[in-house]
Chain length 359, copies 2
Amino acid sequence: MVENGNFSKAYPMKGGDGFHSYSNNSSYQREVIDAVKELINEAIVEKLDINIHSLPNKTFKITDMGCSVGPNTFIAIQNIIEAVEKKYQTQFEYQVFFNDHVSNDFNTLFSSIPPNNNYYPMGLPGSFHGRLFPNASLHIMNSSYALQWLSQVPKEVLDKSSPAWNKGKICYTSAGDETLKAYTEQFGKDMDCFLDSRAKEVVPGGLLLLSFPGRLSETPHSQVYSNIAYDLLGSSLMEMAHKGIISEEKVDDFNIPVYFTSPQEVEEAVKRNGCFNIERVVCIPLKKSQSSNSTKAKAVSSHIRAGMESLLKEHFGDEFNLDQLFENFLQKLHENILPLQHGEASTVFLILKRKEVGR
Amino acid sequence: MVENGNFSKAYPMKGGDGFHSYSNNSSYQREVIDAVKELINEAIVEKLDINIHSLPNKTFKITDMGCSVGPNTFIAIQNIIEAVEKKYQTQFEYQVFFNDHVSNDFNTLFSSIPPNNNYYPMGLPGSFHGRLFPNASLHIMNSSYALQWLSQVPKEVLDKSSPAWNKGKICYTSAGDETLKAYTEQFGKDMDCFLDSRAKEVVPGGLLLLSFPGRLSETPHSQVYSNIAYDLLGSSLMEMAHKGIISEEKVDDFNIPVYFTSPQEVEEAVKRNGCFNIERVVCIPLKKSQSSNSTKAKAVSSHIRAGMESLLKEHFGDEFNLDQLFENFLQKLHENILPLQHGEASTVFLILKRKEVGR
Ligand SMILES: Nc1ncnc2c1ncn2[C@@H]1O[C@H](CSCC[C@H](N)C(=O)O)[C@@H](O)[C@H]1O
Ligand SMILES: Nc1ncnc2c1ncn2[C@@H]1O[C@H](CSCC[C@H](N)C(=O)O)[C@@H](O)[C@H]1O
C-alpha cells in the first residue's frame, strides 16, 4: 500500500476567489517567490546535476508541494522551467505535479492554470508528510510557504495532564517551555517524514527547493511577527469566551498547527536524514511595509483570515461568527501596532541536492 | 506550446453526491465496466506487450480518460491493476492519471479515492481530443463511456443557411440526412484527434481500452435507445417553447453533442490513423431491464438529467426550470414506454495495441 500520509490533518487555504480567498491574500508569499527567483535560477544552473540523455522520453518532472490555489504556484513553476531551459538549451517536455491536501480547492486551481503554459499539468492530492510519487521519478521538488504547517497539533499540547498543556492560548509564542518543546519536536518529526519521502522520490543530482516562513536562529519565538499576531488572535478568542459567546474549554483545545523554524533546525533535520547535500541556506528578512498603520493592520487581518478560516470553522463550528472575531482582532492589531512593528520574520530558504545513491 | 485541446467544449457530469449527481446515476455504466472486466483481463494477459525490465523506476502508468467523479473510474482502474499484477506477478509502482475536462468536479473525485488504493493518484484536467501526456509515457489508456461526447456540435447543424440546420430538434435521430452526416463527420474528426494524440502518448505494445455507448452497424440511429429518449426530451423542450416559457429559437440552437457510433466507424478511424492494431472488437447488447415501466421511466429520466443538466443550464440560463422540464419529460417517457422498450443499445468495446514505431 502506498503510504499517503493519511495521518496528516488538512486545513486548506480558503478556495474560490472571494475577498477572503487565498488567491486574493497571498501577495506576501508572492514577494518571497520573487525574492528567491534569482537564487533558484543560480541553483539550477550551477547545482542541478542530472543526465539529461537518460531522461525517460525527454520528460522533465517538477512538483510544487503545498501549492494551494494559485497564482503563486504558477509563478514558481514558470521560474523553475525558465531556469531549466536556460541551463540545458534544449526542448524538454515538462510534467508538473501540483500537490496539496485532498481538501484543497483543486477545481479553482485547475480553472486558473495559465492557458499558454508549456507543460502538462497534473493535480496530486495527498499529504507531503508521506509518499506522493514512485521512486526516483522527480527532478525538481519545490515547496514554498507550506512546511510551517505541522501534520498535527502536538498531542501533549492538548493533554490536560501534561506540562505542555496550552491553556488559554492558541500558539506556543508566550506559552511555557514544555509547550514550545512539544512544537519543536513535532516540527522535527514532520521534517523527518517529509525528507524521507522526498529522498526516495527525487533522482540523484535532483534538487529540493524549500522556503519556510521562519526566523533567524537568534530571534526568540515571541518576537516572530506572525506569532505576535496569533497571540492577539488568541486573546480575541478568549475575550469571546469571557463574554460567553464560545466556551473557554473550546479555546483551550484550539491550537494552531504552525511552527516557525530557524535555518539551524532545518539543517539538523537534513543531517539526520543523510541523503541530501545542503547547497545553500539563505535567510531573507521581511521587508517592513511602508504603508499606514491602518492599512497594515487590515492586511495582517485578512492574510491571517485566509489562512485560518477553515481551521477555525472546523473547530468552532459553522455557526461561529468569524466576522465578529476578526473585527475584534483588527481592533487588537490597531492597539498593538507598535509591538507588531518590532516583530521580525525571515524567509528561510534552502537548496538541497540528492546525493548519489550509495554515497 | 502543449496542445491541450482547448477547442473542445466541456459539459461536465453533475458533480457532488446529490440526488441528480453523476455518482448516484451511473449504475448503467457500472454494468458495462463489469461486462468488459473479463475482456480487459484477457487482453492484458494475452496482448499487452511491454518490456517490464525497461520500465523507468518500475513504474506502470495508467490513465482513465473521461473519468467523471467516480466510483466507476476507481473500479475500472482496480480491474486493470489486478490484471497487470496477475500477468507479471511482480511488484510495480502504479501511477494513475484521472483525466476529465477542467470543469469536472475534481474535488469530489479526489475526496472519494479509495483510501486503501495501491497506486499514486493524479488528476489531469484537459480535453482528450488533444495531447495530455508526454511522448510514449503511458502503458494502458482506458476510456469508458466518454467518447460519445463530441468536441462540439457540428457547425453546420447550427447554421440556418445550411441544409444540415436542425430546426426544432435537439439531436440527429429523426433529423434529415444532412444533419446526420454532419454528426457522423464530426465524430470521425474527433476520433482522429483522439487517436493521433494517444498514438504519441502510449508506448509501443501498450493498450488502448475503449468502450462507447453505441449501436450495431445495422441498427438505424433512430432505433438507438438514448436517441429515442433525446427525441422525447426535444419535444418536451418544444412544448415549453409553444407555451412561451422559452423561445423557439433557443430550442433550435440547442443540440446535444453526443454521437452513438457503430463498431465499423471506429474501426475505420483506427485504420485511418494507422498506428494501432485492432486486437478485439466486441458489441455487448443492452440488457433489457426487468423492472416496472414506471421504475424504468424514472431511471431513464434521472440518468439523462445527470448527464445533461450542465449542458441545459449553460444554454437556457440558470433560471431555467429544470424540474419543470424533467417532469414533462418523465410524462413523455411514460406515454412512450413501448417504443422505448423496442429501442436498442450496444456497448462497443475495442482493444487497440500500439504498433512498434516504424512498423
Ligand atoms: N501536509 C501537507 N501536504 C500538502 N499540502 C499541505 C500540507 N500542509 C499544508 N499544506 C498546504 O500548504 C499550503 C500553504 S499556502 C502556500 C501556497 C503557495 N505555495 C504559495 O507560496 O503561495 C496550503 O494550501 C495547505 O493546504
Ligand atoms: N473531450 C473530453 N475530454 C475529457 N473528458 C471528457 C471529454 N468529453 C467528455 N468528457 C467526460 O467524459 C465523462 C463521461 S461520463 C463517464 C464516466 C466514467 N468513465 C464512467 O464510465 O462512469 C464526463 O465526465 C465528461 O466530462
